[in-house]
């Protein structure tokens, strides 16, 4: 099998996903173009060597519709021979896009592919695409559909994480993100977003709240209590699937869940020969990757089995991984992952995560893979695993090794 190498990884900063966010005025196509052009320009890449652009996007409708990957490739000024495909693995779309890019390379069918993702959550809000899963009674009821927040609270209730546990994790995430930004650990990957005149719009993650403390979080009301207990009563649905849980403890709120933000990311993947042709030095190789299905109602516990599957395929165990990145969709997701795989906190999300910096749905997977690679290089370590929990009960994981 051909080896797939990572040659570069870039991301935009994450703008607050609201009307007053710095990137709200930027169309999602331009966010994606920013990432693609950065990969081209900083690597002096001849784009005719690139076969395809695979971009994750979770709300592919409206201005994110009509295959935004192809639109972005053309608008970035890539050679017209570069194809584009948009994919949707919900929250892991950015990582899945990278894996699919790697798969094209590993199978010998492409020499270089860009994987990545884009999401402007401020312009195309979550839930815009509808879907049968929550809406159609013939699907929602037998699948025991509950919103993710209820699932996150179910994870906490079933696996015994208290409000203090999830809040403490979140305070630490903010602290780590602040320290990493202060020490400029992200500088290798960040590509500021500029307007058409080259004026900078945003050069840092603007969602962070480094002043967060246990006391400040304590004042926040749980976000999903009303939906769970009162109208329309999603807890009763969750407990049908999880009767061993007496009661759902609503611990999650805006301060210990991932932030809503805008952003895009791209990762350049290719064969050894491509690197030689393009004059680029490989930074890491893709050891293995996996996506799995897990139970859809609790929804968010897929990262552990996905990681185990990827580890097994790579012939590795958790001991062989130097650093982990798990998307901080909700604090309990990370706490459960550490509990399930017995991973110490000082090896996972060492520079913070989405609770502090935000989770631009389609892009996050590619962003955390880039963050993982940067940190392995900075620490002089070798192996890393990036993974995300996914809607409807899935998990995706990727293992990389520096070369």
């Amino acid at each position: 099998m051909t080896e797939a190498y990572i040659y570069d990884a870039v991301r935009t900063p994450r703008g607050k996903g609201r009307r007053d966010g710095s990137l709200h005025e930027v169309t999602p196509v331009r966010l994606a173009v920013t990432a693609l052009q950065a990969l081209r320009d900083r690597n002096k890449l001849d784009t005719s060597l690139v076969d395809d652009v695979v971009l994750g996007c979770v709300m592919p409708i409206g201005e994110q519709g009509a295959n935004i990957a192809r639109t972005a490739a053309v608008m970035a000024g890539f050679e017209q021979t570069v194809a584009g495909v948009q994919i949707n693995r919900f929250c892991a779309s950015g990582l899945e896009a990278t894996n699919m890019a790697a798969a094209q390379v590993m199978s010998g069918q492409s020499q270089a592919v860009i994987g990545g993702g884009v999401e402007s959550m401020s312009r195309v809000p979550m839930g815009s695409d509808g879907g049968a899963w929550p809406v159609d009674p013939a699907v929602a009821i037998p699948m025991y559909f509950v919103p993710q927040g209820i699932s996150a609270d179910l994870v906490a209730s079933k696996y015994g994480f208290s409000r203090d546990d999830v809040d403490a994790y979140s305070v630490e995430s903010q602290k780590r993100a602040k320290a990493a930004w202060d020490a400029k650990y992200f500088k290798k990957s960040i590509v500021p977003v500029k307007d058409q005149n080259g004026v900078e719009l945003l050069d840092h993650d603007e969602h962070m709240r480094p002043q967060t403390t246990m006391q400040s979080l304590a004042s926040l009301e749980p976000s999903f209590k009303m939906h769970g207990e009162m109208m329309p009563g999603f807890n009763a649905v969750a407990l049908q699937k999880y009767p061993e849980v007496e009661k759902i403890n609503h611990v999650h709120h805006a301060g210990n869940s991932s932030g809503i933000v805008d952003g895009a990311a791209g990762i350049l993947i290719g064969t050894k020969e491509f690197g030689e042709k393009a004059g680029l030095k490989a930074r890491a190789r893709i050891r293995s990757f996996a996506s799995i299905g897990s139970e859809p109602t609790i929804m968010l516990t897929g990262p552990a089995p996905a990681s185990e599957k990827a580890l097994k395929r790579a012939g590795m165990s958790t001991k062989d991984i130097d650093l982990y990145e798990l998307n901080e969709a909700f604090a309990a997701v990370v706490l459960r992952y550490m509990q399930a795989l017995n991973i110490p906190h000082d090896k996972i999300n060492v520079n913070g995560g989405a609770i502090a910096m935000g989770h631009p749905l389609g892009a996050t997977g590619a962003m955390i893979l880039g963050t993982l690679l940067d940190e392995l290089e900075r620490r002089g370590l070798s192996t890393g695993l990036a993974t995300l929990c996914i809607g409807a009960g899935m998990g995706t994981a990727t293992i990389i090794e520096r070369v």
Binding site: P137, Y159, E246
Partner: protein
Amino acid sequence: MINYAVDSDGIATITWDMPGRTMNVLNEGSMAAFADAAQKAVKDPAVKGIILTSGKADFIAGADLEMILNVDTSDAKALTEQFSQLQKMFRAMETSGKPWVAAINGTALGGGFEICLACHYRIAADNPKAKIGQPEVKIGLLPGGGGTQRIPRLIGVMAAAPVLIEGKDLSVAEAKGMGLIHEVVPAGELLARAKAWLMAPSTEKVSPTYTKGVTLDARAVQPWDKPNYRIPNFAGGKVWPGGVEMFIGGNAMISGKTNGVYPAPKAILSCVYEGLNVPFDTGLKIETRYFVSLLRDPVSKSMIRTLFFGLQEANKLARRPKGVPKQEYTKIGVLGAGLMGAGIANVSARAGLSIVLLDRDQASADKGRAHIQADVEKDAGRGRLTKERAAEILGRVKATADYADLKGCDLVIEAVFENREVKAAATKQAEAVLAPTAIFASNTSTLPITGLAEASARPANFIGLHFFSPVEKMPLVEIIVGKQTSQETLARALDYVQKIRKTPIVVNDSRGFFTSRVCGAFISEGHRMLKEGIPAAMIENCARLAGMPVGPLALNDEVAIDLSYKIMDQTRRDAEAAGQKYEGSGTEDMLELMVKKLERFGRKNGKGFYEYPADGKKRLWPGLKEHFKEREELAHGEGPAKDAVAAEVKKRLLYVQAIDTARCLESNVLTDPQDGDIGSIMGLGFAPQTGGAISLIDQVGIAKFVQECDSLAQKYGSQFAVPKLLRDMASKGQSFYGAKSKAA
């Protein structure tokens, strides 16, 4: 059956008046006759408009349930064709080009209201007794005559939900308020007003979808057939995206409310969702397909059989011995003015009887009477009773400590402390003043009646009347026939139960009778599961998810764990005294631990399987996890393996009751399967979707049930040992209800 007349103004009146019935119903005969009349009216060029009404006190009560119960469900295609006929007839009415008015003189339910919905205008008489609605969901069905399509298109999905999904009965005024009826008029003006609406000059012409360009008087066109029709209260007038949020919430609410065991509400919501996404005629097809799926689901037939026909027969005293003159009651006595005694006195006084409520001293008796007073005053405060009627009820209750006051009672019901000596003394003292013909009944829940009758000088008149708590709410009375109880006494006791408007079942004497025994089996199975390492929450939740009102551990807390211990201990002593081997339930050690070591007696001392914090809701006692370690794969498992355990827990909790009910039939404690079904649902709240504890066995299929119980017995013990009765029936391919056209 269907009268047809056309007047000189060209107004046809079609009057439903089925001979030999007090109510009009939709069945093959009446539907065919109506179709003829409707066609005549539509084809006759002299007819300008049509009034639909009834010649009876009520309009149309709905479909004939006997027809539904007996329908052959083997051929889905044929059923689909058969059950789309009504819809087609209704659709032909509303697209006939002539205006139709429903003149609703009284109750119009189910198909009886759907026919009104197919009319262009609905006028109702201001009849306070009239009920309007779609109650199909209550018997596991859906409105299959276009109701799921017309009602949401008329009033919006949110407003339609209580009508379609809860099957709520509406008064005429409520129906008008919701927009289901256009006008309410005095009864005498009903037909004149209907005609006036038809005779008014046309003001608007529209071109409906089905005429391909031809315009019609707007009065003869339904809203959903008009151009630019929009679903009410959805932004944009469509499901996507305006109605999406409502369906997301609706799915969760239905899922939570039905616990996944009732198929009808889900099917109704699907009809609405899928039907509103497509043109009206396609929506009707969708409705029929879901209707057929419910007909073919055993739940609907089980519910119709037990909750409609079974209940009707029980209330008509199907088990009453023949040839005994009906007993009219005027005065009865109740011994013991505690919660049960006062409750029995309350329901009896409300039924028009005079009550002597007796306790050991006047203060105790007065306390019982005060309970009744509080209850009637609460009802008076809420407008459910008039002040006069409340006073009248209370006036009929005499509280006393003097046995002499029982003189002249036709019946005395003893509800004193559950102790043989106390009961024997009460029996003797009462009988001393009673007429020799009077009945003496014991409200014991556990003590065998034959033994209690030993204290009686006239055991033929001694019987058990087992009420359930709270008496005011619980509909069942379990009548226990002792060895010496006469058939006449049974007949007269049944007359009393009918008088107080409760539902009777008749059982023969045995330890725990029927209901208490089956209730004990349910609780013991919960104990065993806890010992096996099944999390307590899973036991409790699964019981509810199987259709039970509460879990076995919560139930045990209510009836008291120390009582379970005492019963177990007594049973063990009795066996030893009789020189028999005590079989045991395998949960003796757990009862010992809870009662003797931990002093957790249940709700009564605030410590049971649950704890009862003063400031909040009860919750499972955390200490259970220390004494009964939870299986790791259940505490930390997700997915099919854990789901399979949950499914088996649900099955065990229902099967353990069903098989014990079958044993009651085998040992003649129960004499008819229907008593087992009515008794289990009305007395124990047994999963109504099954049609009862015996009906469940039929639903599963006896052969499969036997096979499953054999395997459960091997894994979990003799509580699942299959009685010979079932094994025989299985080998002969029999069922309890299969051969019967209805439960009769």
